[in-house]
Subunit: 174 residues, 2 copies
């Protein structure tokens, strides 16, 4: 790697943003599969892979899904919504399973960015997980973890910020 | 991007492996900072950034830390151990905070891979989080989330597997 060049992985991690406005362009199946595949390859405790995906592209189902969040317009605007659930039979530890889903979601967001898509991780919808399960026909025992809205970005929300590293290392002289 | 070329982000997601054997080469501060910075840029609910990092490079402290896991040899072998905690004052939702930490950890693992390092996410040590807090002098209210062992790979555990995508999409005709 050249001196001063930023590795594409670091670039993606740094410049990925939550995208909430999409064009109407569909997401080709090959790209959608690549994004799901990125989620699939996340690490998990005991390699238990507790994540399960529901891909919603049908406009009527997407509209029905949208009612369960105050960010319904984001879901309606996106050509694809990916609902992520836990399979209780695959779970083994509440915190570690949730962490694994977070790694899985981040892989999908990074893959979407890498392929020129925009995406946003929606968590507020969890408060209506009963409704989401009803819309998608999912058994009550499966906990909703997040919905990812995905498509070609119509515009990108360019700014974001994080705490400085020093504020994240309260015990370290690093 | 060339036809058939795999984007480096997808390559990293697909080929990253848990690395448990390290050379004695130290991790230069600039690289360690780039890896922590990748964690820092993870998404989190409400952008609450609940993660906090303790970086351990001192051999005596690392040995003390190693006693709290059956994978102590991994920690002793690694030039760097990064303990990740939640700051309770930054938390807002148990599942979403754990997911955010998962995204943060995955960013660090991917960044480590991109920079030529090996790393492994250790979760079993959580059962002894009291001990870890004692070793590191951390207040009892801060939940341990994981320890990442990091260094130049002495060998890579090359094989891993995942369920096929179809098995992760029980409700979909995708």
């Amino acid at each position: 790697m050249e001196e001063n060049a930023v590795h594409p992985v670091l670039e993606a991690i740094r410049n990925r943003r939550s995208v909430r406005h999409f064009t109407s362009d569909p997401v080709p199946a090959a790209d959608l599969e690549a994004i799901l595949d990125a989620g699939r390859w996340a690490p998990s405790g005991m390699n238990n892979q507790p994540w399960r995906f529901w891909v919603v592209t049908d406009a009527a189902v997407k509209n029905d899904l949208a009612q369960w969040t105050q960010y319904g317009s984001v879901i309606r605007s996106a050509p694809v919504a990916i609902a992520v659930f836990l399979d209780p039979e695959a779970c083994y530890h509440p915190i570690k399973d949730a962490q694994a889903v977070g790694a899985c979601l981040q892989n999908m967001l990074l893959a979407a960015y890498a392929l020129g898509y925009g995406a946003v991780w929606l968590g507020e919808i969890l408060k209506n997980e009963d409704g989401v399960r009803k819309t998608l026909g999912i058994q009550p025992s499966w906990p909703l973890q997040a919905v990812v809205a995905l498509g070609r970005p119509a515009k990108r929300d360019q700014t974001s910020s994080r705490r400085p590293l020093a504020a994240l290392m309260p015990g370290s002289g690093f």
